[in-house]
């Protein structure tokens, strides 16, 4: 029964850690993928001054040619270009500040995931003039519906106020509330006409095939356009890297807490084992089993229990994360708004790298070893005379023993 408790504790510990690592990785992936798909892409090209001051005059000339050149680079999956300007969106009920993004629908759908996040209406098309996509939240705040008219107001290149009426053709929901409330999408040609920057744009967004080639492709593009600013998604949104490291750190902290709990669980249970076997241990000491063998007996027993438990925990963890990796964990019931507020999907898909399993095998072995040391120490400090009668009275405690050991060592060196 006692052995089963230790085995059970280790199984639950390993399973929890695998699940936790899976969840953490799933959340990181969800957040980053959402951000890349809907907001930042892998690489972006801007006019250097556009970053600090998002004025229309800081545009990239002949942006179509740049799009075509970048598209021909090996490893580039898709390229789109956009016009971006700060604007005021108004309905008959309300108005608010937003960022208007003018896109070329046929290119944008290859780079951005917004077209797949439509919850009403349809995505932009090249056929009709002055269409606009707004988020569900913006629609709610402006009190507009599909086919309602809204007015976008902004400054053109000559710093004159200009405006255009747009018809709501679709509503989207990316999963990131802050982002959703801050942007609207229109066709680039409509926006360019109003801004008077035809043939130009403010941003080139690039998706690549393999993330490991990010740096090399970025360097290649930077070389091609030395006058433009070429940045990867971590540079565009430094909080992504920060978030990634913070979530990873939180995961490590949780893992350490789990491991500590496991160590204390093992210590507690193995101490019970020693207590239950005081008579046996007393007898073994009496008949001549030396301290090293008794110490090793407790340590090996614990490690063997861990070796029995570890594969079960690993398999259970693998099965659980594999299942949820396919089906996802629906966090909707927990807090739909809360999760979206921070840019997560409702569904998290746990993902555990293979390395984690090997690391866990090593970590659990070390944990078992660590957890067995104190009970083993207590076992060898038993007094055989007392232990035979079932008394748990031991010799000096660890600190007293250490003190005496050091004192004797110092004395022996001194003399």
């Amino acid at each position: 029964m006692r052995s089963l408790v230790v085995i059970g504790a280790i199984i639950i510990g390993i399973w929890s850690i695998i699940f936790l690592v899976g969840m953490v990785n799933g959340m990181i992936e969800s957040y980053i993928n959402n951000a890349i798909k809907n907001e930042v892409s892998h690489i972006k090209i801007h006019h250097p001054d556009f970053i600090n001051d998002k004025e229309s005059k800081y545009f990239i000339s002949d942006i179509t040619a740049i799009k075509n050149e970048v598209d021909s680079i090996t490893g580039v999956k898709a390229v789109s270009y956009k016009t971006i300007t700060n604007a005021m969106i108004s309905s008959s009920h309300a108005g608010r500040g937003i960022m208007a993004i003018g896109v070329v629908p046929k290119y944008e759908t290859n780079v951005s995931g917004v077209s797949q996040k439509m919850i009403a209406g349809k995505y932009l098309t090249d056929t009709k003039k002055n269409q606009i996509l707004i988020s569900k939240r913006t629609a709610k705040k402006l009190k507009v519906k599909l086919r309602s008219k809204v007015v976008l107001t902004f400054q053109n290149l000559d710093n004159e106020i200009t405006m255009g009426a747009f018809r709501v053709v679709g509503m989207f929901e990316t999963g990131n509330n802050i982002y959703d409330e801050s942007i609207v999408f229109v066709c680039q040609k409509d926006l360019n006409t109003l801004l008077d920057i035809n043939g130009n744009g403010h941003e080139v967004a690039i998706l690549i095939d393999d993330l490991s080639e990010l740096d090399s492709i970025q360097a290649k593009i930077s070389k091609m356009y030395p006058d433009l600013l070429v940045r990867n998604y971590k540079e565009v949104q430094p909080e992504l890297a920060l978030f990634q490291s913070q979530i990873k750190m939180a995961g490590i902290i949780y893992m350490v807490i789990f491991m500590l709990a496991l160590v204390f669980g093992i210590i507690n249970t193995m101490m019970m084992a020693v207590l239950e076997r005081v008579r046996e241990l007393g007898m073994l000491m009496s008949v001549g089993m030396n301290k090293m063998k008794i110490f090793m007996m407790i340590v090996v027993e614990t490690i063997l229990l861990a070796m029995v438990a570890a594969p079960v925990g690993l398999i259970l963890g693998y099965m659980t994360t594999s299942y949820f990796n396919k089906n996802g964990i629906n966090l909707f019931f927990y807090s739909e708004e809360g999760m979206k507020q921070f840019g997560f999907d409702n569904f998290i898909y746990p993902n555990v790298p293979t390395d984690t399993y090997w690391q866990l095998v090593v970590a659990v072995s070390l944990t078992a070893l660590l957890g067995s040391l104190y009970p083993a120490w207590k076992a060898i400090r038993l007094r055989p005379v007392e232990a035979i009668r079932g008394s748990f009275e031991t010799r000096d405690g660890l600190m007293v023993w250490l003190f005496k050991f050091l004192r004797n060592k110092i004395r022996s060196i001194w003399t």
């Binding site: 046996e280 007898m283 009496s286 008949v287 001549g288």
Partner: protein, 230 residues
């Protein structure tokens, strides 16, 4: 031949707090082949004396020699080796390992002595035969009666080929029949193999069978009667 010699054995518990004088200058000589009972009322010091002779406890003052070896000068590890090779123990509550069979309980001491498997198997069988429990050799302690368990304990005590066997109240938990059987076995081993047995007891049935009876009261030897028939 003097097997055990004690000189001025004193044992004081809690010397720095409330001292308890368990033994006060015990001088004893026990020869090979003796069948000795150490008797006395509870708290008289007989178990303490047995523990000191067996190297399980250390005296406050005095000296113990076993076959000429002074136990006082042995380190803890050497004392463990000494116990393993020279002394057999029989405990009041048997102290068998519950997950081992009778044969394994007897044989594991020889494993500690690094004997060969063949030697262990042969000796275990012979010992279990000699204590009349060979049919129970594959049973675990919880499948045996108290008397049977104590017989296994006697076989275990003899497994390491000790110089003598110390038995602390070996019959305290046994009924009359089991006590008689156990004493027959031990007396037989004493006669046939010249094995030295030293008991601590206040069981009259053991006292009646002992060849030498040492009485201890308040930590002192008050009588030492030798009725040896050897």
């Amino acid at each position: 031949m003097d097997l055990i010699v004690t000189k001025g054995i004193t044992k004081i518990y809690n010397p720095n707090k409330i001292p308890v004088h368990a033994l006060q200058g015990i001088d004893l000589t026990i020869k090979k082949g003796e069948f000795t009972a150490i008797v006395g009322p509870s708290g008289s010091g007989k178990t303490t004396l047995l523990n000191i002779i067996g190297g399980l406890d250390r005296q406050t003052e005095g000296t113990v020699w076993i076959e000429g070896t002074d136990l006082t000068n042995l380190s803890d590890n050497k004392l463990i080796d000494f116990r393993k090779n020279k002394i057999g123990f029989v405990f009041q509550s048997y102290n068998l390992i519950p997950v081992f069979t009778a044969a394994e309980n007897v044989g594991f001491i020889m494993l500690l002595q690094k004997r060969s498997k063949n030697e262990i198997d042969t000796r275990v069988l012979n010992l279990l035969k000699s204590v009349g429990i060979v049919e129970q050799m594959n049973k675990r302690p919880n499948q045996m009666s108290g008397g049977q368990q104590q017989r296994v304990a006697v076989a275990r005590a003899l497994a390491s080929k000790p110089k003598f066997v110390l038995a602390d109240e070996p019959t305290a938990n046994l009924d009359s029949k089991s006590t008689t059987d156990l004493l027959d076995i031990m007396e037989n081993l004493n006669k046939k193999e010249d094995m030295t047995f030293i008991f601590s007891t206040h069981d009259q049935r053991v006292i009646d069978r002992a060849h030498r009876v040492i009485t201890i009261e308040d930590g002192k030897v008050v009588s030492d009667v030798n009725s040896s028939i050897n």
